[in-house]
Amino acid sequence: MGEYVSSVVAPRAIARPRFGAALLLALPLLGLLLFFVHPLLTVLWRSVTDANGAFTLANYGRLLDDPGLPRAALRSLSIGVATTFTTMAFGLCLAMTLHRSRLRGKFLIRGALLLPMLAPSLVLGLGLVCLLGRNGLVHRLTGIPTDIYGFWGLLIANTLYGLPQVVIIVSAALERTPARHYDAAASMGATPWRQFIDVTLPRLRFALLAAAFLVFTETLTDFGSAVVVGGSYRVLAMEIYSEVVGQLDFAMGATLGVVLLAPALLSVWLGRLAKRRQDSGDASPGRALVPEHHPLRDAVLGTVAAIALLPVVAVVGTVAYVSAVKLWPYDRTLTLANYTGGMPDGYGPVATSLGVSLLAAVVGVVMIFALSAGLRRASPRIARPLQVLASLPAAVPGMVLGLGYVLTFNHGALSGWFYGSAAIVAACSLYHYHAQAFLTMQTGMRQVPDALEDAVASFGGDTRHVLRDAVLPFAMPAAISTFFYLFMRSLVTLSGVIFLVTPGLGLASVAVMRLDENGFLAQAAAYAMCVVVAGALALGAMRLLLHVLKDRRHVA
């Protein structure tokens, strides 16, 4: 059936406006080449050259010498697979709860999901230690011996980190579903479970695979949580850190970076799937779906959502609690002193970070919208490599990218104004999280009905009209999610930008790391809570602005 549909659809592609699509693709492609491929190649070049710049494969040979590496690779793989399964299961349930249940208080779920995105990742790890560590809150309150160091700690930390991302992408596919299919299925006597299997899941195929790809590759490259709760369970990402920062062996760090790029090839499949049309939007959307009354479903989804979100809220709650006590965990008298004293950097970096994040989000959402819209119309020969390129950043550890930025932009044409500016930090954050933002946008754009797009085009609309009248209305929810996603991630990212801060340019996430490094746990927690609150206020303000703009447009 699927093959039949695509063969019918294919000839139509010839009539589509190609020139506009090429224009749409040019700028995002230039951005990717300049701010992602270029720095990445600069680093990776070091994996195949020796100290004198001559070609060598010796670094790859050294991979086999180190007895720790194969084991670390195996561990990375198992933690990656385990994290992907748990995160996908919980993420799908949460997204279904948000879009396919009648549960009240969904804003609570949305709010709870924002927490792990607004809290600097280092802080999530610290919260986990203070909650579930050997001397954590749970142990002190109940006496149960708890020990998170190792596999389970990593699994929990990575799941917390990946959960919001899965919900965002799956939600982008669940948004604006017409009721017709469900009505039809119900009238043929399909049970709600069959409706889920036969109607909902096929529509989610791309979103689920994209989300799984992201969670898997990110778990492999992220070392933020591995550092804090990994225990003696060493994974590949930690080996990269120890090669680059501990032993100043950039070549070996780059070599491991190449190894970690391998899973990104999975995104080739995503590209193939993206080209298939059977789960794209409907020609005439019709009445929007309103979930019917079904108490059992709501009860089950609600319970799973509670189980998934309890650790999220508990971890961030623990950080808030640590920030407000005198001497964790020995003197738990409440105090606000940690918020007012002992912060050599002051709160200036929070403002800088907000500005940088806004820049990354605004530029990012425009570029990624153009890229996703352009790819809808591009021929497979262009679309497939671009699809891989746009998804590749997920497989690049932030530290490798940050190092690439220094090696590339420290000298050369752009170094004068770009190096050491807020723009370079914004660029690094944007391209570090490019894959996640891109795949969310792409999922959302699959909701755009092809027929509507064709209709606008056949009435003489050029690319601009097609975008405005057909693509934008359907892709809007995904575009908004992408914007907020980029904003939040840029606000708290650490691994790449740590190489880009200068004496005059302090960032909030770096300030938190310094406080923690200097041994001020409570102040670090307090600073992190300020970042969470500032981020939440900024989100609220932007949502309000969006609301006002939307109302205005309706009036006019």
Partner: protein
């Protein structure tokens, strides 16, 4: 065309004003932010015409940054960075000799023979032991490195990874005499077998110990003294069977654009005034005439520490780092 050139030259001039204003000094440092704030306030009083802009990174991050920027260094000087990191041949090549009345008075073992570096301060390997956590598990107080190899401490020790932390490497390199002492090497690997959590940074084990996650953290003395000062149930143990220490070196960059200012500032960091401030944060202060404070003595710091430190060949330790770490990995993983 002419107009463009004029605009260009005005822009260049503006850029020049922004970056090369006389008296603006850019310094990279691995000292902690809170101590930097205190030192800088005093430096401003002593050298009112110099504005010091400090970028603070951990020693490893700083080394990586210096190396990545080495084609076009952005800083005038380095202030307080682990000497074994700084003497990596690729970073040492970026330095130039620096002299000054205070710098030249530093004891010979705290100064490079070629005058490219000097170290007014340093830190000492120490154990942070959480008395509460130790008692909860019914374990005795360790006093030596040898004690830590006992099977009863299995999984109870947090230790910095020698491959990623200067403190970790300091312990490995000091105890094994840069790998030359086979028995010392065995001692370190035996300790590594008992480790429950390897950390990236040298202060992290102490921070885990102070909140009771692991009863014993292998760290450095300042971290332990800070824990005691903040009120945690922590005892500082300086192992009796071998002192591991690291120096915090300062240096001038070959590429410095403010040579005179950088020299004056660096010389101030070696002054007696600065040494008095270091005592609030440092266990090893090499500036002649500086003695441990009463608080430091009370917390368990030996009185004649600087004079009793064994000589360390930092250049060799830096050069042979990769080989020694590779050997350690082979033995422990």
């Amino acid at each position: 065309m002419h107009v463009y050139r004029q605009i260009g030259s005005v822009l260049a001039l503006l850029a020049a004003c922004g970056s090369v204003r006389a008296g603006d000094l850019t310094v990279y440092s691995a000292l902690e932010s809170d101590e930097i704030a205190i030192y800088l306030a005093a430096a401003k009083k002593a050298l009112p015409d110099i504005d010091v802009h400090v970028l603070r990174l951990s020693s490893g991050d700083l080394a990586a940054r210096l190396l990545a920027e080495s084609a076009e260094p952005r800083n005038d000087a380095i202030w307080g960075m682990a000497v074994t990191d700084m003497l990596d041949p690729r970073i040492a090549a970026l330095l130039t000799p620096v002299h000054g009345s205070n710098i030249d008075r530093m004891p010979a073992s705290f100064r490079g023979s070629d005058s490219t570096w000097f170290a007014p301060t340093g830190y000492l390997a120490a154990l942070c032991v959480n008395r509460d956590a130790l008692a909860e598990r019914g374990l005795p107080m360790p006093h030596t490195w040898r004690d830590l190899t006992s099977p009863m401490y299995r999984g109870q020790i947090a230790m910095p990874d020698p491959a990623s932390s200067g403190t970790g490497y300091m312990v490995l390199s000091s105890l094994s005499d840069a790998g030359r002492n086979a028995e010392g090497m065995r001692l370190v690997t035996d300790i590594a077998r008992n480790v429950g959590q390897e950390t990236l940074s040298g202060s992290a084990p102490c921070k885990l110990a102070r909140i009771g996650e692991f009863p014993i953290g292998i760290s450095f003395a300042f971290s332990a003294m800070q824990s005691i000062r903040q009120g945690y149930p922590v005892t500082m143990v300086i192992p009796a069977d071998g002192a591991g220490y690291e120096l915090e070196g300062s240096a001038m960059m070959k590429s410095a654009s403010h040579v005179a200012e950088a020299r004056r500032f660096l010389d101030w960091t070696a002054s007696a005034d600065a040494a008095a401030l270091y005592r609030g944060f440092k266990e090893i202060v090499a500036t002649p005439g500086s003695e441990p404070t009463d608080e430091q003595l009370r917390q368990g710091l030996p009185a004649h520490l600087v004079a009793t430190l064994p000589a360390r060949d930092f250049a060799t330790a830096a050069r042979e780092r990769a080989a020694l770490i590779a050997r350690f990995k082979q033995l422990t993983r």
